[in-house]
């Protein structure tokens, strides 16, 4: 056995190192183009301007990375992951796993982004584990195609649901 290496913060100069994955996310198949925008916000409602969001879904060609910018704004360009069914019949509505990294974040915060126009959200086994009054923090609002919008709030009344995995 080997001792796990502890996390440390990415700090404010992450852009020098975390360079891969800033091109649009792609995957095999006829998938719907999407653009997700929003803000990464701290406990005072102020935009986190030096963060990175990482997006992943199985079958994609690589990680998707969005650096947050002025006002905490981020923008992810890609395609929507497909609905997935496990061998035991469990349904997974389209979603990305999302990781939040920033100065002042000593570890990583793990969340997901779902899509507001997907009927399978009601059957998704992870969304069903989230209390009703917090589920909306994981679901990007659908605007005119291809646009979706979701703020990620790391602390406070509107705090995004983060996962223990």
């Amino acid at each position: 056995m080997s001792g796990l290496t502890p996390f440390q913060t990415v700090g404010p100069f992450l852009h020098l190192g975390l360079r891969a994955g800033r091109e649009p996310m792609t995957a095999q198949g006829l998938l719907t183009p999407i653009v997700i925008t929003g803000r990464l916000l701290d406990g005072a409602g102020v935009g986190i301007e030096d963060g990175a969001l990482e997006f992943w879904a199985p079958g994609f060609a690589g990680i998707g990375r969005a650096w947050t910018e002025a006002g905490g704004g981020y923008r992810l360009v890609g395609v929507k992951p497909p609905v997935r069914v496990d061998p035991d019949g469990a349904v997974h509505a389209p979603h990305f796993a999302v990781r939040v990294l920033a100065r002042g974040i000593l570890t990583q915060y793990l969340t997901r982004v779902y899509f507001g126009d997907e009927p399978d959200n009601a059957r998704d086994e992870v969304l069903r584990l989230v209390p009703d009054d917090r589920r909306a923090t994981l679901i990007a609002a659908a605007a005119a195609p291809p646009d979706y919008h979701l703020d990620i709030v790391v602390q406070g009344d509107r705090e995004t649901v983060f996962f223990d995995l």
């Binding site: 440390q8 404010p12 992450l14 992943w56 690589g62 974040i105 000593l106 997901r112 602390q155 705090e159």
Partner: protein, 241 residues
């Protein structure tokens, strides 16, 4: 229309060693105050989403990406060093073909970044970003210069110890690690809030590279060894989700 069930899932990621990582709310590091969650985390099962991850082939790096001293026309100033190590999982197995990204200040302690406004000199021959991919045995190697310490605004007369940022993916979304490598004997370590955010002093030591004379290259560079350990898969595949 519901798609047909997919194939069996990969083996789950084993529970991580407890009490290793910093507490998100670490008051000595002031920036955590408004950037840590206050609601309880929600436990969810590991699904295909978390059990897979991006694959980075050798074509995703250039031949000199691991050598931060050869990214410009001249040599950077500072003490040249080589860093070698292995990436293992918690079961002691090597993690092959995984991307490592690094970034650091120059020898004077200045980052080549618009946000760094300290007046230590920039080095036109040093940018401070590099990357590589581990080999079949999980080994990696970087060539760089030893970064300088630098002041920051966390508290009165605050200085960060010399460090190099490391980012690793491993083989699944859940195996990712972002950390910092420190140098042995640095007198700033005992008073650094970020290093000391790791609660257990013995676990903290895992972040300090070892000087290694066998890696030191005659008339070229001092050698340091830094092994990294990621979460790993359970030994036996799961029956189902």
């Amino acid at each position: 229309m519901t798609p047909q069930p997919g194939p069996a899932l990969p083996a789950s990621i084993a529970p991580a060693e407890p009490n290793v990582h910093p507490l998100p709310d670490s008051p000595a590091y002031r920036a955590t105050a408004l950037r840590h969650p206050t609601r309880a985390l929600i436990a969810i099962p590991q699904t295909l989403t978390e059990l897979t991850g991006p694959v980075f082939g050798l074509d995703s790096i250039a031949p000199l990406d691991h050598d931060l001293t050869r990214q410009h026309s001249g040599d950077p100033l500072g003490q040249r060093i080589v860093i070698e190590g292995r990436v293992l999982d918690e079961g002691g197995r090597p993690v092959p073909e995984t991307l490592i990204e690094v970034w650091q200040a120059n020898a004077a302690g200045r980052y080549a970044h618009r946000v760094d406004q300290w007046d230590a000199p920039l080095d036109p021959n040093f940018t401070g970003g590099g990357r590589t991919i581990t080999d079949a045995e999980g080994r990696y190697r970087f060539v760089t210069v030893r970064p300088g310490a630098y002041p920051w605004r966390n508290h009165h007369n605050a200085w960060r110890p010399a460090h190099i940022h490391f980012s690793l993916f491993g083989q699944a979304f859940l195996t990712r690690l972002v950390t910092q490598m420190y140098f042995p004997g640095d007198p700033l370590l005992p008073i650094d809030p970020i290093f000391n955010s790791v609660p257990d002093p013995r676990v903290r030591e895992r972040l300090i590279a070892a000087f290694d004379w066998s890696l030191t290259e005659p008339a070229f560079a001092l050698g340091y060894r830094f092994d990294l350990v990621l979460r790993g898969r359970d030994e036996t595949p799961m029956e189902s989700r």
